[in-house]
């Protein structure tokens, strides 16, 4: 009896100690982040992040078009988007061209992505709630805004996991994100519409940025030989 239990304990010990040996996997923290299985390779993680970003960008493009159509049907012809708060550059300067991105490090890329993602979570949720109050809003627009707000939240979690994995840093909560997101409440219908439109319009750009950064990051991490970057 004792022999078998000792043997079992030994086997269990050996198996458990083998886990960290398998390289480039992510240990599952308490909260379930990027998938149901506890060990996921970096490749898959990056791939999923890129897919999320591509989907979000695609949805944002379509949302803008749908919003334009809706405005046309309302009779609002030209909603001028001033370079207001939404589209202004964020607290951390973001690289602007391919050459700049080539010179930037992984750390910067990841941080930029995280800043962007964390900035947009709240406005998207607000817009989704506000869109419900419109009359004759196309259901496609509602669906897409729902999808965007849910996917960006899971993307944020994925980015945190990536930062932990690639950079080895702990959980990051960047300050300053709260300041710029002012809760905009106005009773004027036009102002509300203008704000919602600016959110969607500006988010489209940032979604494209996020997608591009993540694609480049994936290229650098996974495919170092073929990647012309860097």
């Amino acid at each position: 009896m004792k022999k078998t239990t000792v043997l079992q304990v030994c086997v269990a010990f050996v198996l458990c100690s083998l886990q960290p040996v398998t390289g480039s996997t992510v240990d599952c923290p308490d909260e379930d982040t990027a998938g149901t299985s506890c060990t996921i390779s970096l490749e898959k993680l990056l791939e999923r992040a890129v897919q999320h970003a591509e989907l979000i960008h695609h949805m944002s493009e379509e949302s803008k078009l749908l919003f334009d159509e809706m405005l046309n049907s309302f009779g609002v012809v030209n909603l001028h988007i001033s370079e207001g708060t939404m589209c202004s550059p964020k607290s951390v300067p973001v690289p602007m061209s391919k050459t700049e991105i080539q010179q930037i490090s992984d750390k910067w890329l990841l941080h930029s992505v995280l800043i962007l993602v964390q900035f947009w979570i709240n406005p998207l949720v607000d817009v989704q709630a506000s869109l419900m109050n419109y009359e004759n809003v196309p259901s496609a627009l509602l669906n897409r805004s729902k999808l965007m707000s849910s996917k960006i939240i899971s993307l944020e979690q994925g980015i945190l996991v990536l930062i932990r994995q690639i950079l080895g840093e702990g959980g990051l909560v960047l300050e300053g994100a709260e300041d710029t997101s002012d809760r905009f409440v106005s009773s004027d219908m036009l102002e509300t519409v203008r704000r919602d439109y600016s959110v969607i319009y500006c988010f489209r750009k940032d979604a494209h940025k996020i997608q591009t950064f993540l694609k480049l990051l994936k290229c650098r991490q996974i495919d170092k030989e073929n990647c012309s970057f860097f």
Binding site: H57, N226, C227
Partner: protein
């Protein structure tokens, strides 16, 4: 009149000269027509000049980036042709808005175009794919042709900076037809080749490819590639298939027709019907529901011997035969009739002339009856080797009718061989008296078939029935009663005294 004409002419000449000299003015407003970026790293803008005002006019393009006020001038006016401005990689920033203005200026003044706001990510339109070629692949079962191409040389797909998607379209070239055939478009995803299956033999195809970067605009269609499909692709195969299918259809129709016409014989051939014993006149419905008298009243036909006449007698009809004799079995039916415990003699009417095949012996009262009827109609094999046995296994030879009649017996074993002939034989006491076969009067005997059977004058001997009684031993010398009914052979049910 001439003077007027002269005046008019000079006036006109003056006016034209004046207007010619007065044509110089400040230039008209130029207009920016489009801006494009082929790979999201550089971009070009083109404009259209307004009126020149008659003087040499120069154009400048100024731009301002989104949040700064600093104004820059176009870095390269020549690379992209006339009236264009080319922004190279160093000067291109993505995700910010350029505010672009074109200024036309000449000696007399300047004209500003309308400002245009441009974001590079919105104006992406790649060059068309390169080196499009088509090859025809002839495989035996599914011929197809393969379209292959290369991405435009300036798009950076390797690093993931852009994701490129392709679209293929093709159409059949109808040089003779007036009507235009339509293009068929297929999305090819990110791959660099595409297969088109089942092309029309003998047709000329035109193939083009175009591409798109991320969410940008589609490129122009590439230059056409042509291919000619050979003619004789699978004619023989098609013909063979057609012939085979036609043959199968014909065969199917024939079998269906044969089946419908000859349903019954075919059905009998495959599923031979189970012979169902039946006595004509015996209604099975009555059996289920009726009483015994009803049933047997149905059995009684005018031709039958009248039971009623003999109701006061206990009548017994016996036919005795010996089965190990050879019999002449033309048109005979054998009926072996065996009784169980009760051993009431049952007589059975058989209308063997008509229903030889389907006669049934039925045991009316309780008791186990097994009947075996082998029906023959003209042909029988050997005589059945049925040696009638008594209960103890002793063969029965002959019987003393009288003694048997009077007693109900158990374990009767009656084997009946109706000759299939007609006539009705009854043996009763009276008759028995008339036929002193016991050994005294042989004058009526016309033939002896076996050592057990005597044929009397007025009947045709065929066979005999045997009735075995268990509790009596038999005297072998007694000959069997003869009956050969002429037309059929029957045994009647004997009613015991208590019937």
């Amino acid at each position: 009149m001439w003077r007027d004409a002269e005046q008019a002419l000079t006036l006109m000449w003056l006016l034209s000269w004046i207007s010619h000299s007065m044509c110089h003015s400040s230039p008209g407003r130029p207009r920016i027509t489009r801006c494009r970026s082929p790979e999201k790293e550089t971009f070009t803008c083109w404009w259209e000049p307004g009126s020149t005002g008659g003087l040499p006019t120069s154009y400048q393009l100024y731009y301002r980036k989104e949040s700064s006020l600093e104004v820059f001038e176009c870095p390269d006016y020549h690379k992209a042709g006339n009236n264009s401005c080319y922004f190279d990689k160093r000067h291109t920033s993505i995700w910010i808005i350029y505010n672009i203005t074109v200024v036309a200026s000449n000696a007399l003044g300047k004209a500003y175009s309308e400002s245009v706001e441009v974001d590079v990510m919105d104006i992406v339109q790649p060059h068309p794919p390169e080196n499009v070629n088509v090859t025809f692949m002839q495989t035996t079962n599914s011929p197809y042709f393969l379209v292959q191409w290369q991405p435009p040389h300036d798009a950076d797909t390797r690093s993931g900076w852009v994701t490129i998607k392709y679209e293929v379209r093709l159409k059949i070239e109808n040089s003779g037809n007036e009507e235009d055939s339509n293009w068929e478009s297929y999305s090819a995803g990110k791959q660099l080749e595409f297969s088109i299956y089942s092309p029309q033999p003998g047709a000329n195809y035109i193939v083009q490819v175009r591409c798109k970067l991320d969410q940008g605009l589609w490129s122009e269609w590439s230059p056409s590639a042509f291919i000619q499909i050979p003619d004789n692709m699978s004619d023989t195969q098609n013909a063979f298939m057609i012939i085979a299918v036609t043959l199968m259809v014909i065969i199917f129709l024939l079998t269906a027709g044969v089946l419908t016409v000859k349903m019954k014989p075919v059905k009998h051939f495959f599923l031979p019907p189970v012979p169902e014993p039946k006595i004509s006149g015996l209604d099975t419905q009555l059996l289920k529901s009726g009483k015994a008298e009803d049933i047997f009243s149905a059995l009684i036909t005018p031709g039958y011997p009248q039971i009623a006449q003999r109701s006061d007698h206990q009548v017994e009809y016996l036919v005795v035969s010996d089965y190990d004799e050879e019999m002449d079995f033309n048109g005979k039916a054998h009926l072996e009739f065996q009784k169980g415990e009760n051993c009431l003699t049952d007589t059975i009417t058989l209308n063997s002339s008509q229903d030889v095949r389907t006669t049934l012996s039925e045991h009316v009262y309780s008791g186990a009856v097994s009947s075996q009827l082998s029906a023959t109609s003209g042909v029988l094999g050997e005589p059945q080797e049925l040696l009638p046995l008594d209960c103890n296994g002793l063969p029965v030879k002959a019987q003393d009718q009288n003694t048997q009649m009077s007693s109900g017996s158990k374990c009767e074993h009656v084997s009946i061989n109706p000759a299939g002939l007609m006539g009705y034989v009854e043996v009763d006491e009276e008759k028995r008296d008339q036929t002193p076969l016991v050994g005294e009067d042989y004058s009526m005997v016309t033939d002896v078939i076996s050592d057990k059977i005597l044929v009397l004058q007025d009947s045709i001997p065929k066979q005999g029935h045997k009735e075995v009684k268990c509790d009596k031993t038999f005297k072998a010398e007694e000959t069997g009663v003869v009956f050969e009914p002429l037309g059929y052979l029957e045994t009647l049910t004997t009613f015991s005294s208590g019937s």
